[in-house]
């Protein structure tokens, strides 16, 4: 087996054994599962239980059922009670959320949610109006017919409103996950480089492995860990969405978005890992690491913030430009693609440019690493790292 895969396998074995890695994986999986179930919990289906008491109960029930029939994913379960006392007991025992007594009083344990309040109010107005009109001498049949109003159709310019919200949630999730994974794995790369340089084990390694092989093996190994983490997140997320029944509400193309996000992760990782490794090779102590890494971390952080902005305004000129320009594209493009339809050529252009940038930084970073990793003692200056090997 060649040196690169030996090095990569060591990284995977040793790193995946750490508690940090295992707990991290479990925690992110849970977080993602919760996030994936969110559309169902928040935006989508609502189930209400309503108790009815009094002579108008029949007509109220009809009015409520009519609303339930029109609403998307709206179910109203109705229970009839003989008297107010029974209804109150049912509310107190959480058998029903609210009880409407004599079409005049709403009994509830705490404040009634706005949606339910609106539903009850509409039903109440319908029944009360009907009653008033009938008692004013109008034909009950005609009143009934007049009450039949077609609900307004919603026309949202960016797909349906709910869809847009979900797309945005997905986009935000992508930014957060990409950022967290990139910063985590790239920091591992940097710490690994310093571990080897600081402990001087690199001096033994480099008698049997070439510097670029060592760097490639380390980056590939940790990259595989990052990728598997991303895949676990994607699978758990989509499975949770399926199980909670949120899938019908996932916008079209979500699977495609997840797939391209993986590609973007790989491109972004190649870029930042090479950068972090080269910078880390300048110092010999873990304590000095965060200091030298600051510019690189800032760049990643900036991408993250831009990605967040992009999730809010996916059509803005800034978002548009940064979704093409590396290295910002690695975070902005998947976000933009999650929210709006991106022309294929733009995706291809952005990926091509990012790939070029990654190759360039791999080349430069590899050279810096090669020069600096065997230099002991004080921090290696940039000029020396770029200059000719001594």
């Amino acid at each position: 087996m060649n040196a690169i895969s030996l090095v990569a396998r060591r990284e995977i074995t040793v790193r995946s054994r750490t508690k940090g890695y295992r707990y991290g994986l479990v925690v992110t999986a849970i977080l993602v599962a919760v996030l994936a179930a969110l559309p169902k919990l928040l935006g989508g289906g609502s189930d209400y239980t309503v108790g009815l008491v009094g002579p108008q109960a029949d007509r109220l029930q009809a009015a409520l059922s009519a609303q339930a029939a029109h609403g998307d994913d709206l179910t109203i379960k109705i229970t009839r009670f003989a008297d107010e006392a029974a209804a109150r007991r049912a509310v107190a025992n959480d058998d029903v959320e609210v009880a409407v007594v004599d079409n005049a009083t709403v009994v509830s344990k705490t404040v009634v949610s706005q949606t339910l309040s609106a539903i009850l109010d509409t039903a109440h107005r319908m029944v009360a109006t009907e009653e008033n009109l009938t008692s004013a001498g109008l034909d009950p049949a005609k009143v009934g017919a007049a009450q039949q109003v077609r609900p307004m159709t919603e026309l949202t310019l960016n797909g349906s409103g709910e869809d847009a919200t979900i797309r945005r949630v997905i986009a935000m999730t992508i930014v957060v996950i990409l950022f967290m994974l990139l910063i985590q794995i790239c920091t591992w790369v940097a710490m690994g480089v310093v571990e080897e340089k600081g402990s001087r084990i690199v001096e033994i390694l480099l008698t049997s492995v070439r510097p670029w092989q060592l760097l490639a093996g380390k980056t590939i190994g940790l990259g595989v860990l990052g990728l598997s983490q991303l895949i676990v997140i994607a699978v758990v997320g989509l499975a949770a969405a399926q199980l909670t029944g949120a899938v019908p509400q996932l916008p079209d193309g979500t699977y495609g978005v997840v797939a391209t996000t993986i590609v973007w992760f790989l491109l972004g990782y190649a870029f930042y890992a090479a950068m972090f490794a080269a910078i880390a090779s300048l110092v010999s102590r873990q304590e000095d690491l965060s200091g030298v890494l600051t510019p690189a971390t800032m760049l990643l952080m900036a991408s993250y913030l831009v990605g967040f902005v992009a999730a809010q305004s996916p059509d803005g000129p800034l978002t548009h430009a940064l979704s093409i320009i590396p290295p910002f594209s690695a975070m902005v493009m998947p976000v933009r693609a999650a929210v709006v339809a991106v022309p294929l050529w733009e995706t291809a252009l952005a990926m091509g440019l990012m790939l070029l940038a990654a190759v360039a930084i791999l080349f430069v970073g590899g050279r810096i690493y090669q020069r600096a990793v065997l230099r002991t003692g004080a921090r290696v200056r940039w000029r020396e790292a770029f200059g000719s090997a001594s």
Binding site: A3, E195, S199, I201, I204, L205, S208, T376
Partner: protein
């Protein structure tokens, strides 16, 4: 055979190596001695290819040593380094694989070495949890695992207790017996004298002496006379021809200078300009108890040539 030929290295204005040459034959134990900062580590790092030289050549079996050749060398750097979070066995195996062994061979070799170095019940422990002495053994195992033909060990004995020194010396002797060339640096000269077939002395980046211990000794041996005289007048020794290296007028405990124990005792180490003249003078001065060339220890040779 390892041939180091005219190595040069400078750090900025500082010349670290100024034409260092040495030869280590298969089955030979070569002691590389010199004061701190003399250039031992620099030489060994260039031999191992982890440092580029400014001139000169390293040859193995007559051909310039390249990357593939050096993979078959074993190395213990001056600053020890191991993966703290890796287990002993898996770490040793890992370096075996990097050195070109397949998995079963690396495993077998690691098992044998770990057993030989007395680390068997530590095999599954993380290196970070081992005592320093045991870490040093793992370091040695890492250098030996891929059965190298040349061992380059930078100060392998430093920090070891006498028992560990003997254990390491034993392991190295096994290797040389199997035909491995071993070169190690040290400033424990008694140890070098005891273990090494050949010695090289480096000072300020230049080799100032080299050869087998016997050769060095022969070169230095007919230089000092040890003269013991009893019953002489004080001040007789000042007339001896040559330079007096050391003087002692107290007889060694339990070794009376002669039948007349209360007589004056004189021991002189002399670098004579005329040995026969010295003998005559000593005989005239008193009763000559001892007159002979002194066999120098490596430490004395070292002081002699480095001074």
């Amino acid at each position: 055979m390892l041939e180091v030929d005219g190595l040069k290295k400078r750090y900025g204005d500082k010349v670290a190596l100024d034409g260092v040459s040495l030869t280590v034959r298969p089955g030979e134990m070569y002691g590389f001695v010199g004061a701190n900062g003399a250039g031992k580590t620099t030489t060994m790092r260039i031999v191992m290819g982890v440092l580029a030289s400014d001139g000169g050549e390293v040859r193995w079996k007559g051909a310039p040593a390249g990357f593939e050749t050096r993979r078959r060398f074993g190395y213990m750097p001056e600053e020890r380094g191991l993966y703290a979070k890796m287990r002993v066995g898996e770490q040793v195996e890992y370096f075996g694989r990097l050195g070109g062994m397949d998995a079963p061979a690396a495993r077998r070799s690691a098992d044998a070495l770990i057993e030989r170095l007395g680390l068997t019940d530590r095999r599954g422990d993380e290196v970070a949890g081992l005592s320093l002495g045991n870490q040093q053994r793992v370091q040695l195992a890492v250098a030996l695992i891929h059965e190298p033909e040349l061992l380059v060990l930078d100060e392998p004995f430093s920090g070891l207790d006498p028992i560990a020194v003997d254990a390491l010396a034993g392991v190295l002797a096994e290797r040389t017996a199997a035909g491995v060339a071993v070169v190690f640096s040290s400033h424990q000269l008694d140890l070098v004298e005891r273990l090494c077939d050949a010695v090289g002395i480096i000072k300020d980046g230049r080799m100032i002496a080299g050869g087998t211990v016997a050769e060095l000794r022969a070169r230095e041996s007919r230089k000092r006379l040890r003269i013991v005289v009893t019953g002489a007048e004080p001040g007789w020794a000042d007339r001896l021809p040559g330079e007096i290296v050391a003087k002692n007028d107290r007889p060694p405990q339990g070794d009376p200078a002669g039948p007349d124990g209360d007589q004056r005792y004189d021991e002189v180490i002399l670098r004579p300009s005329d040995d026969q003249e010295a003998l005559l003078l000593a005989a005239r001065a008193g009763r000559v108890q001892h007159f002979g060339w002194q066999e120098p220890s490596l430490a004395e040779i070292f002081r002699e040539v480095v001074a």
